[in-house]
Amino acid sequence: MSTNLSIIGTSITKFGELWEKSLVELMTEAVTEAVRDAGVDPEDIEAIFVANKAAGSFENQLHLNALASQLFPHFPPAVHIEAACASGGAALLAAEHALLAGQYKTVLVVGAEKMTDVSAEETTEILASAADATRQFGSTFPALYALVADMYLRKHALTSEVLATIAVKNHRHALKNSKAQFRKELSLEQVMQSAIIAPPLRVFDCSPISDGAAAVVLTTQPHKAKARVAGAGQGQDAMVLADRRSLTTFRATSTAAKQAYQRAGMKPADIQCAEVHDCFTIAELLAIADLGFFPEEKAGRATLQNQTTLGGKIIINPSGGLKACGHPVGATGVKQVAYLAELVSRGEADRVLAHNVGGAGSTAVVHILEKAL
């Protein structure tokens, strides 16, 4: 991107079943820490973009823009962005557009979700609101991804071992992430013998139900930066799977990636590590092909041959991903970018990519970050 968009402050709360913390407390913690980390005066924040999927259903709490704004003494203008599980990515894009348009110089993006106050069945119902309520009646989120997995495994003559390999790898990665919901190794056998949710997906193929928040401060002004936003993009596709051209690839992801690579002047081989949207293990398998890291027909083998972890071709989901770090849906897209910016600022990578998906692949947002100039 021609204008210099910098990430100058980041924060991620602990992810998990945080019964002692409310949605507002999670947002407050993330916002306060990101502003402190940026080293700016709170009154320098000119606008706030809030990402959240379903506080109206989970907590009967909406008007989140006002909730966020009142955390600041000067009540900056704020908006709430919802794009299902891609709310975080979409809020970041909206913030970037406002900065690139010159409307603001420094803004805050906060993503938060409080999911564990209701039962798993109620959560399943609330998350199903990301599907087409009339044309996909009776579907659940895991079932839609299970249909994709069913087609993918049959097309490429793979077994569910490849899915379990992703779960094991992401749990191993999360061991090093103090914010992760699960810091516990899993064996292939544990994953492959866990309870069936929607075959071929088992409970350990699914990301957990999580509470959490993340925030980033973005600026176009000269300031010590943690990373630079090199490019971003957004793609869309039909909500109803039956309406798609292909179910073994997500067009929304490839569209978003193409825009992001073009704007960054990069190609997939330039990316050293990526946080991809593994809400279910099958989603990572599609993502690593749709983002251009491996050809579709080789993504399974690359996963089985440890090409997506330390020592491989590219590190996928160093945070543990949604699978092990947790998936407070509105926070996820912001957390991916915050986590990667921290990685870049520590010098652990120079060029990284975040991939955030809404619904069963009908919305996708891709961000590419690089080392600050």
């Binding site: 069945e121 399943t124 199903a128 895991p142």
Partner: protein
């Protein structure tokens, strides 16, 4: 399901009732929202009707597999609650059982 939403979805029944197609992707749902919990496990499939594809719940607990010939039928959509309405809608069953 609210009465008005039920009435709206009922207008699509005639588009589907009696149509036959082939299952091209299949799963079964073992964890469902509360109003569907009594049907668990139920099939959820993508059906190819030749000129178009659509997603449907399978009726009953019969497991539908890829390649099965199915037909669209009218069945209860939710377990009746204390709402007076008992919602019906389109599901699919194996053709031989219709």
């Amino acid at each position: 399901m609210k009465p008005a939403a039920y009435w709206r979805q009922s207008k699509t029944w005639q588009q589907w009732l009696g149509r036959t197609g082939t299952v091209i992707a299949s799963t079964s749902i073992h964890l469902a929202p509360p109003q569907l919990a009594a049907f668990v496990p139920y099939s959820y499939v993508i059906v190819d009707f030749g000129n178009e594809k659509m997603e449907f719940m399978g009726a009953g607990q019969d497991e539908l597999r890829v390649g099965d010939e199915v037909v669209c039928v009218l069945r209860k959509l939710c377990v009746p609650s204390d709402e007076a309405l008992i919602p019906y809608g389109i599901k699919v069953v194996k053709k031989a059982e219709a």
